[in-house]
């Protein structure tokens, strides 16, 4: 548990693992972790946008706030929670092999 914000951190998701587990809580390691996290959120936002969803906020750089256009929101701790929650919110499975999604991603890359 974080002594400052009282958040429970049960486990570090595999996507945020670094060479040394302690490294991510210190100085430059934390900077790198947040930079990597921002990059993930940028890409997630493009993907989620295809389904009318977005990452509304990134609380304390530990929790994703997922939202839709109706104002529904969910707080999620990791990518493992994000995708099933997004599928429920969108009412469809978010499939990374979906050709239309891939076209949109390639359009984004070309800009």
């Amino acid at each position: 548990m974080c002594v400052l914000c009282a958040q429970m951190v049960n486990e570090i998701h595999w996507s945020e693992r670094q060479l040394n587990p302690e490294w991510i809580t210190r100085g430059a390691g934390e900077t790198a972790r947040r930079r990597s996290r921002r990059a993930r959120i940028r890409l997630c936002s493009v993907v989620l946008g295809h389904y009318g969803l977005e990452v509304v906020d990134d609380w304390s750089a530990t929790n994703y706030l997922l939202g839709d256009r109706k104002g529904n929101q969910r707080v999620l701790t990791s990518l493992a929670e994000l995708w099933p929650a997004a599928s429920r919110m969108a009412g469809a499975t978010l499939d990374p092999l979906d050709d239309r999604l891939l076209d949109r991603l390639l359009e984004t890359a070309g800009k």
């Binding site: 993930r40 499939d95 390639l106």
Partner: protein, 339 residues
Amino acid sequence: MGARGRRLVTVLSGFLGSGKTTLLREYLRRYPGDDIVVIINEWGTVGLDHHLIRAVKEQPILLRGGCVCCVRLDDLVRTLREVLDLEQSGKLPAVRQVVIETSGLADPVPVLFTLTTDPILKHHFTATSVVVTLDAVNAVAQIAQQPEIHKQIIAADCVVITKSDLVSDEDVSGLRVSVRQFNPTARILVSCLGDACDALELTVEGENVQPLAIDQLPPIPHQEVQTATLGFSDTLDWPAFSVWLSMLLEARGPDILRIKGMLDIGEAGPLVLNTAQHIVHPPEHLSIWPQGSRKPYLVFITRGTDPARIARSLEAFQRAGGRGGLRVRCVDHDCGERA
């Protein structure tokens, strides 16, 4: 203990009568000691395996009442927690290794699932390898008729071909090809009377993924699964890769049977990736490339999913993540070209 203070677990699986216990018994004979905990499963009412292992004076904790993977996962949780309690209360010496021998019909993946998801076990145990025995005499017929064997081979980090003294060298070679049709990345050992029991020796986390020899890829994959080996024209963007992989496993987990490989994410060494269906072993960052060779690759074993679509998808995510010029190509047969 592993690098993060967890007890290392070896999962031993294999079809009925394929020589699991012979291998285990020989391993325990060669490496006697009370720091190895053996957890075995008996299938049916006669605990034959249990009696065989007791003969070597080890202390197996028998799980009763069915298949360790599919029926009594709670028993596995309870047993491992008991091991932990005994060790931490000083009634058991420090545990160096836990060997879990599954029943012959079991899929090893639920064992991995249990170890990685139980809120207590995941902090104290880590599965470092899945060893699968394959009976050289009967394997061809069993592979044709028993889907359980397909799951076991696909989940394997190491396949031990047993009873090799009862078949010809050509038969063993043919079996190697059959194994590679399901799992191009598994290490294959040939054993007679358990003499390849070193397969059960502890491996360091991440060590089970080795540089890939392209010439060992099977000429034709098995008709039930698709295998594809992806190569990359540049370093991968890790944040984009993790977004893509987590999304892929959520959407297609049951059909993505296995992913294994070494990625170049711009660090000095590779990032070793190993997944079994929806279970992701924590990626390991190695400090150097094995054998000094920087050759990243990713092997996919899938069911009903075209590997070319996976390659296109990964490329699109990488490009959107900032790797604009990156190309992802299959380096084996399924995608129609070699790099």
